[in-house]
């Protein structure tokens, strides 16, 4: 029996490793549904339409559910900027708010971005929030910093302050979040390319480019 014991121990550990890995994988694997077609996307000037950057009629849409206080979202924002330059008129980017409760200032940051959007400067605030993420994330009163960013990008400060507290801004953030939750989103950034959730294995620069290229090719064939 002793002769076989090391083999038995090794096999048991191998099975336990594979089994626990599989259970963990099933528990953690996101089950994100495809993003439904958004009728408001065609209403480019509608005040409640999503935040779109790039060619509104681009063949490929990259939709992000992001949290302004999430560091990987910050890294992705820089990469998304590169993608927009690379693909130019062939790509449009949509941003939807998904502030995670674990991030103290994430909801306020989302409200700040929406308030900036009410003055037509959503993307300027979006870029500023991600660029300055390290600073305001650790600040005791992040709101003061948001107000200083609003001034820097040329917003009417009084309107910005009242818009940040408005029901309209809160409703927009909540609507994005509810939409994300209905799709099964749990982490940020969660990405969709032409309404299809990005596979976790493709959540890297090469993977994202490959999926965009495949979507472009598919569009060119239809």
């Amino acid at each position: 029996m002793k002769r076989y014991l090391p083999f038995i121990i090794v096999v048991v550990v191998a099975l336990a490793t594979v089994g626990s890995g599989a259970i963990l994988y099933r528990a953690k694997r996101p089950h994100v549904l495809p993003s439904p077609e958004d009728k408001t996307l065609s209403a480019k000037s509608s005040p409640e339409s999503p935040h779109i950057r790039g060619n509104p009629d681009a063949p490929v849409t990259l939709e992000e559910y992001g949290d302004f206080q999430c560091p990987p979202c910050g890294m992705f924002a820089a990469f998304a900027g590169q993608l927009e330059k690379e693909y130019d008129s062939r790509l449009r980017v949509i941003f939807r708010n998904f502030p995670l409760t674990m991030h103290e200032h994430a909801r306020d940051a989302a409200l700040a971005a929406e308030a900036a959007g009410m003055q037509g400067r959503f993307w300027e605030m979006h870029d500023t929030l991600y660029r300055e993420q390290d600073n305001w994330s650790k600040a005791p009163n992040a709101r003061e910093l948001f107000e200083s960013y609003a001034q820097t990008i040329g917003l009417d400060l009084n309107k910005f302050k009242s818009d940040m507290d408005s029901e309209r801004a809160k409703a927009r953030v909540d609507a994005d979040r509810q939409r994300g939750e209905s799709l099964g989103i749990q982490t940020t950034p969660t990405l969709f390319i032409n309404n299809q959730p990005l596979d976790p294995k493709d959540k890297n620069p090469e993977g994202i480019r490959a999926v965009i290229n495949a979507a472009l090719e598919k569009k060119s064939q239809t």
Partner: protein
């Protein structure tokens, strides 16, 4: 305590330490395969390290290689504890390779990324402990199963 018994205890301790490393590497592999490294579950530093290009080789998360390395170390330690002489040689080879790779990843974290991932540091600590145990092994002179 005889030298042989001391050696067996070291192999068993090495197997237990390898199990700790195996659990850590399995967790990191699952994180990478589910895309969690891009999520916000960890600290900013963890996200920086695990989301970097150094965290994958040929598209495969390095944590997966960690699983294979720790499992190999565990297997050889168990067989060595049961008196298999060749297992000792393989154990030393695997741990030496793991030690060198660990030095590289510590360099990457310290000087290239300027960020430390606590799971990676735990893995480094287990590898260093394994290396220390291998160094502590007394030289083998008696005959055993090969």
């Amino acid at each position: 305590m005889t030298v042989s018994r001391f050696r067996t205890i070291i192999y068993i301790v090495a197997a237990i330490v390898s199990l700790a490393g195996l659990a850590d590497a399995t967790y990191l592999s699952v994180q990478a395969l589910t895309g969690e490294t891009l999520g916000c579950g960890g600290s900013p530093d963890c996200a920086t390290v695990l989301g970097s290009s150094y965290a994958r080789v040929g598209g495969i998360p390095v944590a997966v290689f960690g699983v294979l390395a720790y499992f190999s170390a565990f297997t050889f330690a168990i067989f060595a504890a049961f008196g298999y002489v060749r297992a000792r040689t393989f154990l030393i080879l695997v741990i030496s390779a793991m030690f060198l790779v660990t030095l590289w990843f510590l360099y990457v974290q310290a000087f290239l990324l300027h960020a430390y991932c606590r799971y990676c540091l735990f893995s480094a600590a287990t590898t260093f402990l394994l290396a220390g145990l291998v160094i502590a092994l007394p030289p083998r002179r008696d005959s055993s199963v090969s």
